[in-house]
């Protein structure tokens, strides 16, 4: 008998569609964040997308590590603004292509310092992108993020001097508290009649890097999933500040698990200048685990997260999801194919049924991994597995297999 004409098949299709629709909604609401997160993290550690070969070592992180924090900033935060500006000035003097400053400089009292003492920082050679914290905890649960007026180098972001470029380094947090996605633009309320759609920090840095050569960044989706690669190089901030420069024999890095991705450089002044010239330099702080996040590969410092986002912008080495409705069709199609095979070789015992579900789960995982190689993220197989389990449960608990056979015939 043609399997497509059987009751068994069409009932299966109906269940697959219903389960995929339910999963679709629950996924939208974040109910599968944890499950999808585990799958994503595992895939992330297993699969190397084809685009990785294009990744270069153009990003250098100047890190305020524990050692720099203790010796250059007296172990006090908020960091001494004057020292922060000195660090930026020193880094900028090494002629990098662009400097991204991932340190929040929200204290109003330093606006005068910026104006009077650090005019050279107004220079656009190299371009500097300052980080802004545009949000604050809103409701009583402390989870909401609401717009507020925000300051950078003492200036309200609504009216900064024209040469002061800023952007928010923000990331959505999944239900399991991990950060996996990267929004490329963000709508920001400023009190004007229209919201200000701003580029997120990493995008702004990447665009500044590309601007002199006139090439545009990929106009991809608004949000992508980040890959974390070991292509960044780290230099401790202490190497740049005369007041706390380490003795020559002691130029080591603090051992911080947050900065384990990439290569740590111990260089002299001359070597530093050579390494930094025409590159992207990101200044941030991994000290004291204050800017710590959970990424696909475990704990990661905010500056490393931003470095991954900048690289994603430049090389296109990120994972994109298809629009959800396309994913829904894919879920259903794959489900129907699996159903077809199940009908062609039906499981006869309970053990066989579980083996079939396990094989299907493995196949789905392989498909997901294959898509990841081509930089497409598909985690909708959660719904398919759910559908298969529903079928299994119905068959085990509700139906008499003999009756089912009778129906089919």
């Amino acid at each position: 008998m043609n399997p497509f004409l059987s009751f068994h098949f069409w009932r299966g299709v109906a269940i697959i569609i219903a389960a995929a629709a339910l999963t679709w909604v629950l996924e939208y609401r974040g109910w599968f964040d944890s499950l999808e997160g585990v799958a994503f993290d595992f895939l992330h550690s297993m699969v190397t997308p084809g685009s990785e070969k294009e990744i270069s070592n153009r990003i250098i992180i100047v890190d305020i590590d524990e050692d720099s924090y203790t010796n250059c900033f007296d172990g006090v935060a908020p960091l001494n603004e004057e020292r922060v500006l000195e660090l930026v000035k020193e880094v900028a003097s090494r002629k990098p292509s662009v400097v991204g400053i991932d340190l929040l400089t929200e204290s109003k009292k330093y606006a005068g310092l910026y104006l009077n003492k650090f005019n050279p920082l107004r220079d656009n050679q190299p371009s500097k992108i300052w980080a802004v914290d545009s949000f604050k905890s809103g409701d009583e649960s402390g989870h909401e993020r609401l717009n507020k007026s925000s300051f950078v180098l003492g200036f309200n972001v609504r009216a900064p001097p024209p040469e002061l470029k800023w952007a928010p380094p923000i990331y959505p947090q999944e239900g399991d508290a991990h950060v996996r996605r990267y929004p490329r633009n963000f709508a920001l309320s400023t009190g004007a009649s229209e919201p200000l759609v701003v580029k997120t920090w990493a995008r702004a840095v990447a665009e500044e890097y590309r601007r002199p050569v006139g090439s545009e960044l990929d106009h991809g989706p608004e949000q992508v999933f980040l890959m974390h690669r070991k292509n960044v190089r780290w230099i401790p901030a202490r190497s740049f500040l005369d007041a706390c420069k380490p003795p020559k024999e002691a130029g080591s890095h603090s051992d911080n698990p947050l900065t384990r991705l990439g290569e740590k450089l111990t260089l002299n002044d001359q070597e530093i200048s050579k390494v930094l010239e025409n590159q992207i330099v990101l200044i941030g702080g991994s000290f004291h685990h204050k800017d710590e996040h959970l990424g696909p590969a475990g704990e990661i410092s905010g500056i490393a997260l931003n470095a991954a986002a900048v690289e994603a912008e430049l090389s296109g080495d990120f994972l994109r999801e298809w629009p959800r409705w396309k994913m829904f069709i894919l879920d259903v199609l794959v489900g129907v194919i699996l159903l077809f095979f199940e009908i062609r070789s039906p499981a006869k015992t309970v053990r066989d049924k579980f083996i079939h579900v396990a094989i299907a789960a493995f196949v789905l995982f392989l498909i997901s991994a294959g898509m990841m190689y081509f930089n497409i993220l598909w985690l909708g197989w959660n719904g398919l597995l759910l559908g298969m389990l529903v079928v299994l449960i119905i068959e085990l608990n509700v139906e008499n297999p003999k009756m089912n056979e009778h129906h089919s015939n």
């Binding site: 908020p78 929040l104 402390g142 609401l146 950060v179 004291h288 629009p323």
Partner: protein
């Protein structure tokens, strides 16, 4: 029969949850109500609901963020203190309405459900590291409490310090401070009724003296001049040792060790205080 029931349950549930047509609250500050009920995240608003904002006592923020089906995210702000906007509409009485442009294609206009995931909470990936008081030994003299050492990681500004005794069940005491380390690094503030001893210190907003949810409480030991001189040497040495310990141990282990030492200092100070 039963299998039909399962399907009958699954499909409408998915449909009802998926094709929501009502505006939904993404977030709302205190003061926003719909039909006299406080707006909270996730609440769906019928078109007939009357949304109002009345500035609460000591309230500062007035932001309301709505997810408007087919229109995207709408931000409202009410600088006048009393507003009555129409839900997801253009009519706004005293309200600054800001709309996020969300239409990039016909499907997106129908619902974000077809395109992307639900909006999430955002985190800022940047170093600031300040904001919370730090564990410290504080001097109490005739001028007041020297809060400075506990406030080293706090930006300058006006704050409410919330102080709760570590051992006794007492109501928390609150003190206002205008903190600026450049003007007064010691942060001296009169604090009547605060006996020497060990306390839990939190930072709050001046307006309502409620603890900042992002602030991590610190332990402080308040010691009168006589004991302070003796204890300060021990405290400095202990802090140095704990810093070394932090290189090979976790921050929580170091904090536990520090708190144990502070508890012993608090006991000494309180015993001396009782004797007097």
């Amino acid at each position: 029969m039963r299998r039909n029931l399962v399907l009958a349950l699954l499909i409408p549930t998915a449909t009802t949850m998926g094709l929501q047509a009502q505006p939904k609250v993404i977030s709302a500050d205190d003061g926003w109500t719909a039909d006299s009920k406080k707006l909270i995240r996730g609440r769906e608003l019928p078109a007939s609901a009357i949304v109002t904002f009345k500035k609460p006592t000591n309230g500062k923020a007035s932001a309301l963020v709505l997810d408007c089906p087919g229109e995207g995210i709408h931000f409202y702000s009410c600088p006048t203190g009393s507003c009555k906007p129409s839900i997801c509409g253009d009519k706004a009485d005293g309200v600054l309405k800001l709309s996020e442009e969300s239409a990039h294609g016909p499907m997106k206009r129908i619902s974000a459900l077809f395109e992307e995931r639900e909006p999430k909470n955002y985190v800022t990936a940047a170093a600031r590291a300040g904001g919370s008081p730090t564990d410290a030994l504080l001097l109490s003299d005739s001028r007041g409490i020297h809060w400075g050492p506990a406030l080293r990681r706090i930006l300058e500004g006006h704050y409410c310090l919330i102080v709760q005794h570590l051992g006794k069940q007492q109501a928390a005491k609150t003190f206002l401070i205008n903190w600026d380390s450049a003007v007064d690094p010691q942060g001296i503030t009169p604090a009547s009724g605060l006996a020497p001893g060990g306390y839990r210190l939190e930072k709050g907003a001046v307006e309502n003296c409620r603890a900042d949810p992002e602030s991590v409480p610190a332990w402080v030991v308040i010691a009168p001049e006589g004991e302070f001189k003796k204890l300060n040497g021990d405290w400095s040495r202990t802090v140095t040792s704990l810093d070394k310990l932090s290189e090979v141990s976790t921050l929580s282990t170091v904090a536990a060790a520090r708190h144990a030492f502070m508890a012993s200092m608090a006991e000494i100070v309180e015993q001396q205080s009782t004797k007097r």
